[in-house]
């Protein structure tokens, strides 16, 4: 099989399937000694201007419709439940600070993570446990999945929007937080368990204070 035929075969494999392929899976399905990496790069180049793109996320490859066509594409859209503001923040923290423990997420947000937040992200297949931190209790660390990268059209975690600037500004470093904040967090957690927070919310909801500068 010459290079052109190998390219056709690779194209058929990737184009025909709904599932993304890892390079390892492609190697198993293509003739031995195929230059998978070179062919993938060439194929991506060939589709760069077309209505369908060859995209990479993590270790996987798949054809996807070009993002700029989105507004014009009258295709069946998947209905998604809207993520809460808190869940979005937790997702962003996991993506940008990974691997990150629950305690570290709470330190950054300075509030307790309510039960069900990680649950929702896990259910969406966007986060996964990455390992354990060498700390007392060996807490699990969290990171994002390849499904997350695919969903947001990202090649890798390194291509998250603005991650380089944040790194340069030192905002992704782990620094000792304020003691005061962990005290606030613990308190918030107590409140959550006692369900008193809900009570206060109801009392306050009608009374707002105008803030002047």
């Amino acid at each position: 099989m010459d290079r052109f035929e190998l390219m056709r075969l690779l194209e058929a494999l990737l184009f025909g399937a709904t599932e993304p392929f890892s390079e390892r899976e492609l190697t198993q399905r293509m003739p031995d000694d195929t230059d998978i990496v070179g062919l993938l790069a060439e194929l991506r180049e060939q589709y760069a201007n077309r209505g369908v793109h060859l995209v990479q996320f993590g270790t996987r490859w798949a054809f996807r419709t070009a993002p700029d066509l989105g507004p014009h594409l009258r295709l069946k859209r998947v209905v998604r439940r809207k993520l809460s503001r808190a869940a979005l923040e937790v997702l962003a923290i996991i993506a940008y600070h990974q691997p990150v423990t629950r305690a570290e997420i709470e330190e950054i947000r300075a509030v307790a993570t309510s039960r069900g937040t990680l649950d929702i992200l896990l259910e969406a297949s966007w986060i996964r446990p990455r390992g354990r931190r060498r700390l007392p209790g060996r807490p699990v660390t969290w990171g994002v999945t390849e499904a997350f990268l695919d969903h947001f059209g990202l090649e890798s975690v390194g291509s998250l929007p603005g991650i380089e600037e944040l790194k340069a500004a030192g905002l992704l470093e782990h620094r000792p937080g304020l003691g005061i904040l962990s005290a606030l967090r613990d308190r918030a957690e107590d409140g959550e368990q006692g369900e008193s927070g809900e009570l206060y919310d109801a009392v306050e909801s009608d009374t707002a204070i105008a803030l002047e500068e």
Binding site: E19, F63, G70, E89, P161, L166
Partner: protein, 273 residues
């Protein structure tokens, strides 16, 4: 042209609903309603954003003053304020004093400037994550703005079975198993009760030795520390005594409600042997 196919337009939320709903803080008539905030840091961040667009140039001292002023007014209005808001107020008052007073050299505590820098970092870091979340959700998303192959090619040689199980399924099932384990241990407990058969056998064997009225408690098995077992023994022994009375082997006597219950062998019954 960004129109949904009719099939999901009816049931689903509008596509735009996936955009984050961050509070717009530029409005001059900002109303501070504690209900909408996620704790004091959230309030501080909103104040900071209102104060200056560039959060890196924020004056921590001015921010502390605004926050303290807000808490003071809220208390003036006798609003219920959650404890963590007050803790933050106390800490900011402390920070203010450290910023205003000259620090002594032999002090081990971090200086006011250091504390202020830490708070500024905390605010910037959280703000950066909120912006990141917004940027993420404004990206084109799979199934919304770009699409996978709609249907796999019907020409297929290599069929692989993929089981539909996610990590979420696995973890939630494991959690359920562990809980069920707890209740399955508890299901074994009824086995430690004193059975009706045991009570009947015991009562029958003791009956020959008791021609005179004897209080029910004397027929109970040896006392154990297991109170539930003892209670079941009382109940089954009483039930067994009713059964033997019905058979004509036993007589029962009780002088009044809650009075002791006495048992004796039926007087007309001939002795064995």
């Amino acid at each position: 042209m960004a129109e949904h196919s009719t099939s999901d337009g009816e049931t689903g939320e509008p596509f735009e609903a996936t955009r984050p709903d961050y509070r717009a803080a530029q409005d001059d008539s900002l109303v501070l309603d504690l209900d909408g905030f996620e704790g004091p840091i959230d309030v501080l961040l909103t104040l900071a954003r209102k104060h200056k667009v560039d959060i890196t140039k924020i004056s921590i001292l001015a921010l502390a003053n605004q926050y303290l002023d807000f808490i003071a007014r809220a208390r003036g209005l006798r609003l219920e304020i959650a404890a963590d808001y007050l803790v933050m107020a106390a800490w900011l008052a402390y920070l203010k004093s450290r910023l205003l007073l000259p620090s002594s050299d032999d002090d081990d505590e971090p200086t006011g400037a250091e504390l202020a820098a830490r708070l500024a970092f905390q605010l910037q870091r959280l703000e950066s994550m909120r912006e990141a979340a917004g940027k993420l959700m404004r990206r084109a998303q799979l199934g919304q703005d770009f699409f996978a192959r709609g249907k796999p090619d019907p020409v297929a040689v290599d069929t692989t079975t993929v089981f539909n199980a996610t990590l979420y399924d696995l973890l939630s099932v494991y959690g359920t198993i562990r809980q069920r384990q707890q209740s399955s241990v508890l299901h074994i407990e009824p086995l430690t009760l004193y059975s009706m058969d045991e009570a009947l056998a015991r009562l029958n064997s003791l009956l020959g030795k008791t021609p005179d009225w004897t209080v029910l408690e004397k027929f109970l098995p040896a006392a154990t520390s297991d109170t539930l077992l003892m209670r079941s023994a009382i109940a089954t022994t009483f039930a067994a005594s009713l059964e033997l009375t019905r058979q004509g082997k036993l007589q029962i006597s009780q002088s009044g409600t809650f009075a002791p219950i006495y048992l004796r062998r039926h007087q007309d019954e001939p002795r064995d042997g």
